[in-house]
Symmetry: C2
Subunit: 344 residues, 2 copies
Amino acid sequence: MTDAGAGAFVERMLAEYRDMVIGTLLRDLPDPGAPGLYELVSSYPSRPGKGLRPALCLATTGALGGDTARALNSAVAVELFHNGFLIHDDIQDQSQYRRGLATLHAQYGVGVALNVGNATNLVALRRLLANRSHLGARLAWRIFQETEIMLRHTLEGQALELAWINDNVCELDDDDYYRMCLKKTSWYTFVYPCRLGTLLASGEYPAAALDRYGWYLGAAFQIQDDVLNLVGLYERYGKEISGDLWEGKRTLMLIRFLRISTDDERERLRGFLAKSRADRTAGEVSWLHRRLLELGCVDAAGLAARQLAAAALAEGTAALAAVPDSDDKRFLLALPSYVISRDH
Amino acid sequence: MTDAGAGAFVERMLAEYRDMVIGTLLRDLPDPGAPGLYELVSSYPSRPGKGLRPALCLATTGALGGDTARALNSAVAVELFHNGFLIHDDIQDQSQYRRGLATLHAQYGVGVALNVGNATNLVALRRLLANRSHLGARLAWRIFQETEIMLRHTLEGQALELAWINDNVCELDDDDYYRMCLKKTSWYTFVYPCRLGTLLASGEYPAAALDRYGWYLGAAFQIQDDVLNLVGLYERYGKEISGDLWEGKRTLMLIRFLRISTDDERERLRGFLAKSRADRTAGEVSWLHRRLLELGCVDAAGLAARQLAAAALAEGTAALAAVPDSDDKRFLLALPSYVISRDH
């Protein structure tokens, strides 16, 4: 396949799986019970999104010869946990836009949004409990255990990133970034869905089968996300452009800037990062944006993403070598190239 | 026993169980993993608190002839979920003090506090997963199911209360209050711990065994809490006095005021409630405080709490009639009187 052909194939697979998952998710929400709760749980999932995480879960199940219909309930849980994180993450980052619309807390206030995030996680938990009747007690329990591991990594990654911003930590190297990224993004976006997909196909999780694939892919994905945050188009990307700069996020690009810039510019950046979000100015953000481009920090991040995607492809190819060809396998192996060429 | 003797007995039992539970909770937190996460999970549990919920769980197990040591892990989970709720609830209510110290979000910001609340719930979830090895798969799963029900009621109750405040709902009657109170307070504070205690003693949950006891007790407890919020001493109570008025909480007293006051005063209250918390003034809060007392709304709430406590005692006595006498049984039956005579 050409690159464009591969991209179109990935988009088609994503759309198919997304329709299945979001359709099931929205159809089976609990009865109201209270105003302003479950109908708001449907808000983020109803907005345009890639549905990458549940697709990974289902495609892994399918590629390994499992029954994707049997995995659907868990894939819905994966998507729900993702949306629960987004709602809380948007509160924590004070983000204003998500998937092209106002964030939930911007629309309804922090109190309601926090509660809806919790309710989203609860609905995910209900899905995991429902697994017992159609997967059996043992497999349902294993999926719970994987979920606990995923939640732990994600909260620890989030804590790490928040601490860097709150304590204005500037002495960071690439390894620090990759460690945070493994916990905050890779685990729940790639490693967890692949592990669930493997469990759902075979009932077992062979040690580290697709872990390295997921980890490299996650790092490539997050770096591309950071790059898009600087050079993307809002119409495609759906979040504030340069939002990461306003938030003072420690991206690979920012860490590189702190390493290679002159003492004067480094001090200027430290001063900017020491301010609260509200005190940062458009002029400062614009200067930083320009300098990250001029100093090659964005290009270097793009290169790192491409190298990580290549590593993900190599790991995925090795892990799936014994598996017969299928759309699901092709999808998994096309993803590394897709995540670094996407514009949203 | 005299009332004072019964009060001292309850306090002693609470202190004993609290030492066991909080000691275990603080000793067994996960390794750091990230800065500003698990060490902050210990913040609220380390502050002075009654430890009512885990004590109820352990005393129910003991009263029904079960092994409280076997129930300890679940009691720790009950206390953790409570603390997770408190952290999130304080963010939602913009509360400034908790157990005599600054709330977590007032100390560390909303982002960190939200994450620590989630981490607290995660640590509770880990406890529930750990149940499997010492309680067996079946009972561990039943406890998960009860936990899902509890979380659902709590989030729905929270949504109800937030919606009343955000939408400035003033047409409420006592039944609306009791419905919210059952979901937001009674379930997780009384019904859930009693259900877990029963499960842990017998492996089964006999339909509605202690449910009505827990529900009446929860309503009495919440009403007394609302009363203390108006007439308590900060040194004993540990939260802002009149904080509920600043927040516009729909208490039984406020609902009564809306029903019995003159049209003029009702309009004045509606105007007050229509404002944001920040726009309310000390003069308005002071007027409302005085009128709630003068119109007998506080006395009426006190009477309702006493009637509910009597109902709880009757239900508890009936539910435990066949059970031999023990400190745990005496504790459960002394609680109704305790919750309405407490000053903190």
